[in-house]
């Protein structure tokens, strides 16, 4: 009788698609810290192989592009990124792990994209790059890539605390015609399928990432916008305070997980 019930339960679980289909706890090495699993572990072995090989990973093209931009002089000051920061592999190592962070001058959080544009308009006296366009994406990928393998470690206390709380509240706040929060999917159902796609734990450490769906690299804010549109709510602007706060919370959700930029996701 009990046996029958178990068979029935398993059958039901399979039918509902609520069985974790990509391995078991502890199998994921560096891609798992405590109960936090990187989105990497929810992808198929083919997609993971694409990320693991720098000559198969199409996101690496942006690392090359960012590297070229790093030493390109632009703006009235006649400077490049390298003029102040020299060798990115030294000076930018670790940066990707701690952004977004509190900026005293602004009195709020600043993410990597915003820091790049602050350098451009300030030190370089150049025009800021546009969000989601090639150059800003490439430079963000390049900067973040310098921290590849380092554990995500954003600061959420002190001055950052109120912004972290706002980000967390956003994550759990229902919105849109479907009345769903980020957490409705990413906290309640990671590892289960919604149609053919498998839900991750909704973290921020792999961005900018190459998405198979986009067939290109995109920022975390693009992903936020996509998710917001899917629940039929009005997305916020790229670089909005709401999204930068949310970025900090998503970064904290990935604490301890290695930075994978440029990662491969579905």
């Amino acid at each position: 009788m009990a046996c029958k019930f178990i068979v029935f339960s398993i059958g039901l679980a399979l039918a509902l698609g609520i069985v974790h289909e990509t391995g078991h706890a502890g199998e994921w090495g560096k891609y798992q810290v405590e109960d936090r699993r990187s989105g990497y572990t929810y992808r198929t072995k083919e997609t993971r192989a694409m990320q693991d090989d720098d000559f198969q990973n199409p996101g690496m093209a942006l690392v090359d592009e960012g590297e070229a931009l790093w030493s390109m002089v632009d703006g009235k000051a006649g400077k490049s990124c390298a003029s102040c920061h020299q060798d990115a592999s030294v000076t930018m190592r670790g940066v990707g792990a701690v952004y977004p962070k509190f900026d005293i001058g602004l009195g709020k959080l600043k993410n990597i994209e915003q820091q790049i544009n602050t350098c451009r308009t300030g030190q370089m006296q150049a025009t800021p790059w546009k969000w989601e366009k090639g150059q800003l994406l490439a430079m963000t990928v390049y900067v973040r890539h310098q921290s590849r393998g380092m554990p995500m470690n954003v600061k959420v206390d002190g001055s950052a605390a109120p912004f972290f709380e706002k980000g967390k509240a956003f994550y759990n706040e229902r919105r849109g015609q479907l009345d769903m929060s980020c957490g409705s999917c990413h906290e309640a159902y990671p590892g289960t399928r919604i149609r053919a796609d498998m839900l991750s734990q909704g973290q921020g450490h792999s961005f900018p990432t190459y998405r198979l769906k986009w067939q290109k690299v995109g920022s975390l804010h693009r992903r936020f916008r996509g998710c917001n549109k899917q629940v039929r709510s009005k997305p916020y602007k790229y670089g909005s305070d709401e999204y930068v706060n949310l970025e900090l919370y998503a970064g904290w959700r990935a604490r301890g997980l290695p930075i994978e930029t440029p990662a491969l996701r579905n």
């Binding site: 090989d53 000559f55 990973n57 093209a61």
Partner: protein
């Protein structure tokens, strides 16, 4: 000449007769010609890289013709037998006849 952004992986050294793997990745949208512009409703014209070739010391050792079913940012890996030291020259040709090239040196020992 088109400015294709490409990544290539070729070993620096190989023994004569050794068969080594070559990996190539090029950035291109590979527009199929089947999609419509959402705003105007007009077809977006096909624009793809339709030919890839690899020459080894001037002689073609591998080539490939691509159709719109090849994914964006095409990846291509294949094998070459090491004969003499020299260069591997890669070329990508698009629908407008623009050609992008990249080369790698290889040292063959023994």
């Amino acid at each position: 000449m088109a400015n294709f952004k490409a990544r290539i992986k070729v070993p620096k050294k190989a023994k004569k007769g050794e068969v080594f793997q070559v990996k190539t990745l090029v950035t291109h949208k590979m527009e199929t010609g089947l999609r419509k512009n959402k705003k105007t409703g007009k077809k977006i014209p096909r624009f793809i890289i339709n030919k890839f070739a690899c020459n080894y010391n001037g002689k073609e050792v591998f080539s490939s013709n691509w159709h719109p079913a090849i994914s964006a940012n095409p990846y291509m890996s294949f094998y070459v037998r090491a004969e003499k030291s020299g260069s591997l020259d890669f070329s990508w040709t698009d629908d407008k006849g623009q050609v992008g090239t990249k080369s790698a040196k290889i040292m063959v020992t023994g």
